[in-house]
């Protein structure tokens, strides 16, 4: 994947997926020019130069919010305190399974990214917070970290310099909210993973009350490519303003070829992704709906998918790119049941600190439950539909963290776009019952 190659580079990660031996250090050194950039950055570049290059690259965070990486790193104050680069490997937004690919097949890109990022912000000990369920991935990652220690890329006097850098894997234990960066930091500190009141922001007071940058796995693993290609060239991989590089997309649900795919940022529409990469809707069926950015993203109906798949275009149509997880629903999908399932998730995962989120999610779940499971005994009422929208409207924007909005958005959008299905339920026109969902 070197810059000198004749064929233009369009994919950074995907060509290295699916072969177990690719995760070894030798492969990273031989085939991906591994650790050369770490060495260069440590010996030839100041932290500010690194940050400038990342800014030029238009590298936006891949965790969900799309915040510019270079900017985030520049917020870390140059104070005389430990500073932490904390990697978010919680990968818990429903639909998302891209960071797992990086950890499995290109773990050294992540480690080299951590070395470069640590230099940029002055971090000497980085933590990788990985969801507890990824036990196998944590083990693979530890093996890669051990390889890096053995070679002197980590530890003391790394890569023959005066720098010190340790990396510690911290395993979560099953809680979606620990993907939220301040919930994650509390969990790292040995507490319940409840999000914190901001300010102070993590850049000022994060892990162990010290300046901290929390970044997604993909965000950081991308940094070595930025340095290899140069920020300007990297930015050009993106085909849209403000988004540089490539995006890993988790495509799931009712498509013929679900998978993790890599595209130039903004280089395809949602329709092209579903048809060209996903091989179209499965079983020869028609498309009904698409959840375009993890289950927190408001749903799109089948006629709304000619939208460029990137942050701003999706915002314009009232949804979001989130963690780039696309879930496709064919025309047999029961949208009411699906919304119940989505809402149940948020009710289960609400940490309970904010009343609107805790109570609202429970209420929405129980109303949806009676709509789906009691349409015939008079428990569900036509007014339930508007009540749902009402409750959702009272959660959004009124909570400590974005989980509240994440729970409200689907309810509002599902009802707005598929209202007749909800009405059919409360009229008692829907017969079939399924235990779950």
């Amino acid at each position: 994947m070197s810059v000198e190659a004749n064929t233009p580079v369009t994919k950074l990660f995907e060509p290295h997926f699916w072969k177990d031996s690719n995760r070894k250090l030798e492969y990273y050194l031989d085939k991906m020019d591994g650790y050369k950039m770490a060495k260069k950055v440590l010996t030839e570049m100041t932290p500010d130069q690194v940050i400038d290059e990342v800014k030029k690259a238009n590298l936006r965070g891949r965790g969900g919010a799309g915040f510019p990486m270079g900017m985030k790193w520049s917020f870390i104050p140059k104070v005389d305190k430990p500073k932490y680069l904390v990697i978010n490997a919680d990968e818990s937004e429903p639909g998302t399974c891209k960071d797992r690919q990086i950890i499995r097949y290109t773990p050294h890109a992540l480690i080299e990214g951590i070395i470069i990022g640590s230099h940029a912000i002055g971090c000497k000990h980085s933590y990788i917070y990985i969801r507890g369920e990824y036990a196998r991935e944590a083990k693979l990652l530890q093996e890669a970290i051990d390889e890096a220690y053995a070679k002197g890329y980590l530890g003391q006097n790394i890569l023959g310099t005066q720098n010190t850098l340790d990396i510690t894997i911290h395993r979560g234990a099953g809680a979606y909210i620990c993907g939220e960066e301040t919930g994650l930091l509390n969990s790292l500190e040995g507490k319940r993973g409840e999000p914190r009141v901001k300010p102070p922001f993590p850049a000022v007071s994060g892990a162990f009350a010290c300046p901290t940058a929390v970044n997604n796995v993909e965000s950081v693993a991308t940094v070595p490519f930025v340095m290899r290609m140069g920020g300007d060239n990297f930015a050009k991989l993106g085909k849209i303003d403000k988004s540089g590089g490539t995006r890993l997309i988790s495509l799931s649900g009712h498509v013929n070829k679900p998978g993790v795919y890599e595209i130039g940022a903004g280089s395809m529409t949602l329709r092209q992704i579903i048809e060209d990469l996903g091989g179209g809707v499965w079983k020869g069926r028609k498309l009904k709906a698409v959840v375009p950015g993890g289950s927190s993203a408001p749903v799109l109906s089948a006629d709304e998918i000619d939208v460029v798949y990137d942050v701003e275009p999706l915002q314009k149509v009232g949804t979001m790119m989130g963690s780039a997880a696309i879930m496709v629903c064919d025309d047999t999908t029961d949208m009411v049941k699906l919304l119940l399932r989505v809402t149940k998730f948020y009710a289960h995962e609400s940490c309970g600190q904010c009343t609107p989120c805790r109570e609202g999610c429970q209420w929405m779940e129980s109303i949806l439950h009676r709509i789906v499971h009691h349409p015939h005994d008079g428990k569900a009422k036509p007014s339930d539909i508007d009540m749902l929208t009402d409750i959702a409207g009272n959660i959004g924007g009124k909570t400590l963290c974005a989980l509240g909005d994440a729970a409200a958005g689907p309810v509002i959008s599902f009802i707005k776009k598929f209202r007749p299905e909800f009405e059919a339920y409360v009229r008692g026109d829907v017969k079939e019952r399924v235990r779950h969902a």
Binding site: G95, C97, E133, A173, G190, F208, F345
Partner: protein, 164 residues
């Protein structure tokens, strides 16, 4: 100088000793300690939580408060083989409900229960992060993906008799 607690073995204390230098304070070791402690008996009994509390140097209630926040810490005993079927959106779209129903029938227990012989516990799980290979489940620490009724049935059969 590993001391042993009431129920936790020396292995626990040795593992923790190794981790201590990696954190700026001892409280940060609570999650790793609970993971390590759970390895010993598969769940966290009152005595285990007390040992962890003693080791960290906090009140047992504080450990329970933390442990109860996370679904992976078992505060009740679980079967030898803990099946956690993901029923979140991506898995649901590809038949997770039918799998759950099938598993309940096959094991003759409801979701959330353990078989009388203590071999299987069946749970429903939120998104496992295996959405492009849905439906998926966890069997103890392992992921099993692209599940269907046949492979689920085979898996249960295979783990019924011998070593779980």
């Amino acid at each position: 100088m590993a001391t042993t607690g009431k129920v936790l073995s020396e292995k626990f204390y040795t593992a923790m000793k190794k981790l201590e230098p990696r954190y700026p304070n001892k409280k940060a070791l609570i999650l790793p300690a609970l993971h390590e402690a759970q390895k010993e008996h598969g769940w966290l009994s009152k005595e285990t939580l007390e040992d962890v509390a003693n080791y960290i140097g906090v009140h047992p209630a504080q450990i329970r408060e933390v442990a109860s926040f996370y679904t992976m810490y078992n505060l009740k005993p679980v079967g030898k083989m803990h099946l956690k079927i993901c029923t979140n959106v991506a898995c649901c779209l590809r038949g997770a409900d039918e799998l759950m129903e099938y598993a309940e029938k096959k094991l003759a227990i409801k979701c959330g229960e353990t078989t009388p012989d203590g071999r299987f516990t069946l749970s429903e799980e939120e998104c496992l992060g295996a959405c492009t290979t849905a439906p998926a489940m966890m069997a103890n620490d392992d992921y099993i993906e692209n599940l269907d009724i046949n492979s689920l049935s085979d898996f249960i059969e295979k783990n019924k008799g011998g070593q779980a």
